[in-house]
Amino acid sequence: MQMHKVLHAVLALAAATILGLAGAQGQTATPKRGGTLTVGFISDSKTLDPLFSVQYTERQMLYLVFNTLVKYAPDLSIKPELAESWTLENDGKRVVFKLKTGVKFHDGTDFDAAAVKWNIDQRLDPATASPQRGQLEPVIASVEVINPSTVAFNLKARNAALMSLLGERPGFMVSPTAWKKAGKDFSDQPVGTGAFVFKEWVRGNRITFERNPNYWEAGLPHLDRIVLSDLAGSVVGIQRLQTGEIDYVADLGPQDIRVLEGKPGIVLDPITVGRWFSLQWHMDAPPFNNPKLRQAFAHAIDRGRINDIVMRGKGTISNGPTPAGLWWYDASVKTPEFSIDKAKAALKEAGYPDGFQFVLSTPQVAALQQVNQLVQEQLAAAGIKITLEPASSAEWYDRIVKGLTNFTPTRWTQRADPDGLLYLLFHSKGYGNTTKYKNARVDELLDKARETYEIDQRKVMYSEVQKILATDIPMLPLFFSAEYAALRDDVKNHVWIPDQIPRFREIWKAGK
């Protein structure tokens, strides 16, 4: 069965649910050629070499210089990019890709099956020490060049999440020739097949990309140049947007946009699927291995009020890791409802009739600090005394991974496939399972869903997982964030993908 047909079914399903959410503006007018788009961003970028990329802001640039084998549509369905089509063979354990022909890297070398093989092999090679090895190695047994425009991936097991991986970091195709020549300097001399060619990186100041005149997608790109300019913070970004020095700034929260609301010349474009905010604890040790205690916490938290205050009511209350709008969302999953009486009763049953106290890790991140203050206030009403413990934001997540932090808020971005976040956080072997949650049924369902290509069957399995999570509460869901990009109104064709990485490839400027 053709894999992309399965995925088209996903598309139909997802499109039906989130139709109208995506792409707020400007697809009707004719694109205009030329101009410079200046983007302000708070940079955490370290490298533009896709093989070593781990930072969040690197990806918006990687999507300019490089193409991926497949791409995400606004509903997270998988579309062809450098791979034109693909078929499944050998009981789903072999994927054969037909590649676009005539595509060239910026250094003039050909993109072909051998380049694809080199890209995957290089990531798999332990000597490279690519962070993506951990994602690819459990899935891919070997890559086989069949002819210059056909390449086959032999899989270790059936894997429904592979295609979504090839739409992000593991799927960026770099020029093997340029990579070998530059060595570690590829970090700031990236060469891909993308719509924009890397020009210059003044670290800490700006990064410039120029239009690729030989780009293979007809009619693209529209812009002549894209400059990404470093910002000290959202406040500076908002100021610079108002002076017209930058055209675009993303990652704005509901509090940030107050000053921009209703300003002429500025458009606010909300993301379609927010980040998941939750509280987590250690499931394998007292006190939180006590299910009644977790239930008491869940009943004591008023998620609606947290959303009203932290997100100005613009976020969505969460009952689990999956927001409405993604195909694996199940509306019947419910977290224990807010009720002080039930919280007190559960606390008593948990063996704490005289109340309970604990520390909550509080990183220096404004949104998480606000969340923690509200959590502290709400739990106090149920007889739970919380002390906020400040944590340096640089070390905070590191300490969670090392098991040094027990009770803490966390936030996660959605992945393009349910296997991404659900397996990572809740499978006992998940790399991000810092709660040490272990449920045999959840493990079994996640393993099985990973090997199942049929979307309807996967949905049933993921629903069951989410229902178990709502009872076990390894992580206590709070809300999905509301976030915004603010654009000058002459910037057209901005479309959000639920992975929250801004895409500039197809943007054009109307000019004044």
Binding site: A129, K184, G204, V236, E245
Partner: protein
């Protein structure tokens, strides 16, 4: 004087060694291996272990430090673990930016502090105003001052671009125009600090007999202030300038951040957050050297400002 300079430089070596060792152990022991930062949030424990082994992050800190010193002695500062960039290149890219910002700011701060506090008319009529300016300079945090300047000059008046910095390759005019706000921001604190030091000394000098005699002889107030009082009151400012310039080789983190300037301060902060010890150590070494060299220059300047002082 030559022997003094040589002796000073020689004692600098153990200082540099001790401070890099201290930095190294704080970075590796407190922050830990950079492997987690290099592999990202989703990394498996196996991948982290493999990377630790590949780069030798699992070796005892003393062994790792020894290896770093051995390479540094051969002029090889290594590569950043997170950006892959060669450390010497990262540093040589940053230094000119930081030095330029430092020079302009200290020059502006020192000359404004000295001149404003020497002019007799100002001293009588504007004492309140300069005191207020000093206080603002010292107390208002650079982040707030920088953002307020952006708000005033870029958003309201529209005179200056809000992005504080542009490379020389954008043209000298553009580059200098964009230096104005960062220099104003950074010099505010130093203006206040230099003023206070200078004023205290000046008041002292003004009481002395030779000033009274000069005035009694009928020399003009201006001439007495600038020719007789100033050179005698300026010494503490020179020391302070030396120390400040030395410290600023480590970059002005806040000012560089607000105005997106690619200086050593930003490099240092991002290296610490990335547990990137080759970069942390290199910048640390630079700061220590900077402080030592600048103090030395201040001492030499002493002998020029006041020929009575000799180093023998």
């Amino acid at each position: 004087m030559i022997t003094m300079i040589v002796r000073r430089l020689l004692t600098a070596l153990p200082t540099i060694a001790a401070s890099t060792a201290l930095l190294f152990f704080s970075v590796t022991v407190i922050l830990g291996s950079p492997a987690g930062m290099m592999l990202g949030q989703d990394a498996s424990p196996q991948a982290i272990a493999a990377l630790n082994e590949k780069y030798g992050f699992d070796r005892p800190a003393l062994v790792q430090y020894g290896a770093w010193v051995a390479n540094a002695f051969q002029g090889d500062l290594g590569r950043s673990f997170t950006t892959q960039q060669s450390v010497s290149r990262a540093i040589t890219d940053c230094i000119p930016v930081t030095i330029e910002l430092t020079l302009w700011s200290i020059l502006l701060a020192a000359s404004a502090a000295i001149v404003l506090n020497t002019i007799p008319v100002f001293k009588r009529t504007l004492t309140g105003a300069t005191t207020l300016a000093n206080l603002i300079g010292i107390t208002v945090p650079n982040f707030m001052l920088g953002i307020s300047l952006i708000f005033l000059f870029s958003v309201w008046l529209g005179w200056l671009p809000s992005n504080g910095w542009a490379p020389w390759s954008d043209g000298a005019g553009e580059h200098l125009r964009r230096m104005i706000m960062p220099v104003l921001t950074l010099s505010a604190y130093y203006f206040g600090a230099f003023s206070i030091v200078y004023r205290a000394e000046y008041r002292d000098v003004a009481q002395r007999m030779f000033i009274q005699v000069a005035l009694a002889k009928g020399l003009s107030e201006w001439k007495v202030a600038f020719k007789h009082a100033l050179p005698n009151a300026v010494l503490p400012v020179i020391t302070f300038v030396g120390i400040s310039m030395g410290q600023l080789t480590g970059g002005a983190v806040v000012t560089e951040t607000v105005f997106s300037m690619p200086g050593t301060g930003r490099l240092f902060v991002s290296a610490i957050s990335g547990h990137d010890f080759p970069v942390v150590l290199a910048v640390g070494m630079l700061v220590v050297t900077g402080v030592i060299v600048m103090n030395l220059l201040a001492d030499i300047a002493y002998t020029i400002a006041n020929p009575q002082i000799r180093f023998d």
